[in-house]
Amino acid sequence: MPVAITPTAPSADPALRRARQERRLRLLLPVCAISFALLMWEFLVWYNEVPHYLIPAPSLIARTLVENFGSLMGSAWFTVKLTLMSLALAISGGVALGMIFALSRPIEMSLFPFAVILQVTPIVAIAPLILIYVPDTFWALLICAWIVAFFPILSNTAIGLRSADHNLRDLFTLYRATPLQRLRYLLIPSALPYFMAALKIAGGLALIGAVVAEFVAGTAGQNTGLASRILESSFRNEIPLMFAALFLVSALGIVIFLVTSWLSTAVLGHWHESEIKRTR
């Protein structure tokens, strides 16, 4: 008896539509949820007549943000500068030292404890000392933020450089690769996934380090960042300004997260398991 076989493979069209729908939902749902939360906040503050020096309404925060835009942007720029410079130093220092660690076990064994000590000691505890020893506040803050962001880059780079497949290493030996060729064509590509994971972490940590260090430093400097603005407005009981500065800090964190995630996808997207979307 002939059996009618219906094709079970889904046609491309519904799959495509589903993908588009998912992309739309991915944007739509968070936007709706956040808008709803803001509206609730606004409503509850208005309904309960909460005074603005306790909890300001989102609209007031937005107005404060616009009114103080110039000075807040100046502070934000200071924090951005601090974060990016510390991240850049953490990347260059971490990668350089990670490479040395990967090349030499004795050096790693000697220096790794220092890196661990720096990592496990809370930055809040070291920051006052650094502020005493380093006369320039900006440099002191930079060192604090750098210490926090440095460790993940260092340890992941060292592990990543060692993670190259052993047979591939043998293959490079067989074809008499120079040390430079080995580094460029084998070790660095093998280390990239580890480095990218570290970068995502270090990006966030650099911001945290910058903010925490500034809190410890207080408003000592002339040219101050968002953290000192938060402190300063709390002394003056300017709660809406505190929220406005806080908003900018988290916006900054989100931007850093998005940029590092995008970078990771751009670099690894075409080959590494972590970034490949599986079709179901």
Binding site: L171, T173, L174, Y175, R176, Y185, L186, H270, W271, I276
Partner: protein, 257 residues
């Protein structure tokens, strides 16, 4: 059969750092154009011997000469690993191009050779694919193309098809035989399959374990090797002889080792 020996092992011994004697007093001479299989149970030192011929391991005693020079100095040697060992971040083209790139050739200079090597294994259409997009058999063919791209005189293969399904393995067996015939290669092939070694080789070196050593050196009958050969009485008879030789090496080996 009067060609000079291409590979000579004399009194080769390998003891690993942990004290294991992997290979004891191995003497072997392989002539140009031979297809030699190292057959034996796991732990018989067959892969160790192959790696020493490639120059990836140093013998602890004895000498190995390849192409008239000490192993590892010769060049002109290619190696195919048990897994395809491809770089996941590089396309098939770039993977195959690697040996040429390490010799300092640019992309444009290498193109013709890479395409020829890909043509040999029938993967011309997949030059721009990434390894993860390929099946196990295709990955292994990329690995073979990479080994062939330098036009080596000697091809060393370390259980290359052990992880593949039987149909793919038969297909790749024929591919390797064709390369061997057409390119005038010398092939040293490590395997634990009696049937594979008998089908492919012109000579089977049966090895025993604990310590690793050569037990038998069996010449294989000449004649055409194709799918038909697998069903002939002569193939069956040769397999029986080799199996017996292999079993003779395993008397004292506990099956649960």
């Amino acid at each position: 059969m009067t060609q000079p020996a291409q590979i000579t092992l004399s009194h080769v011994e390998k003891r690993f750092g942990n004290g294991t004697l992997a290979l004891r007093d191995m003497n072997l001479s392989i002539r140009e154009g031979e297809f030699v299989s190292f057959l034996g149970p796991s732990g018989c030192g067959k892969s160790t011997a192959l790696r020493m011929i490639a120059g990836l391991l140093e013998p602890s005693g004895g000498t190995i000469t390849v192409n008239g020079r000490e192993a590892g100095d010769g060049g002109d040697v290619s190696f195919v690993f048990q897994d395809a060992t491809l770089m996941p971040w590089a396309t098939v083209f770039d993977n195959v191009m690697l040996p040429l790139k390490l010799r300092g050739l640019g992309r444009a200079e290498a193109r013709a050779q890479v395409e020829e090597a890909l043509g040999m294994v029938g993967l011309t259409k997949f030059a721009s694919s990434y390894p993860r997009e390929l099946s196990g058999g295709m990955k292994m063919r990329v690995s073979i193309a990479r080994a062939m791209v330098t036009k080596p005189r000697l091809l060393l293969m370390d259980e290359p098809f052990a992880a593949l399904d039987e149909m793919t393995r038969f297909k790749l067996n024929n591919d390797v035989l064709e390369l061997w015939r057409k390119q005038g290669l010398t092939v040293v092939f490590v395997t634990h399959s009696v049937f594979e070694s008998v089908y492919l080789s012109s000579r089977v070196v049966v090895m025993g374990s604990r310590p690793g050593r050569v037990v038998h050196d069996l010449p294989m009958p000449e004649g055409p090797r194709d799918e038909h050969y697998r069903t002939t009485a002569r193939y069956a008879e040769t397999c029986r002889i080799v199996t017996e030789a292999l079993e003779g090496t395993m008397d004292h080996v506990d099956i649960n080792h």
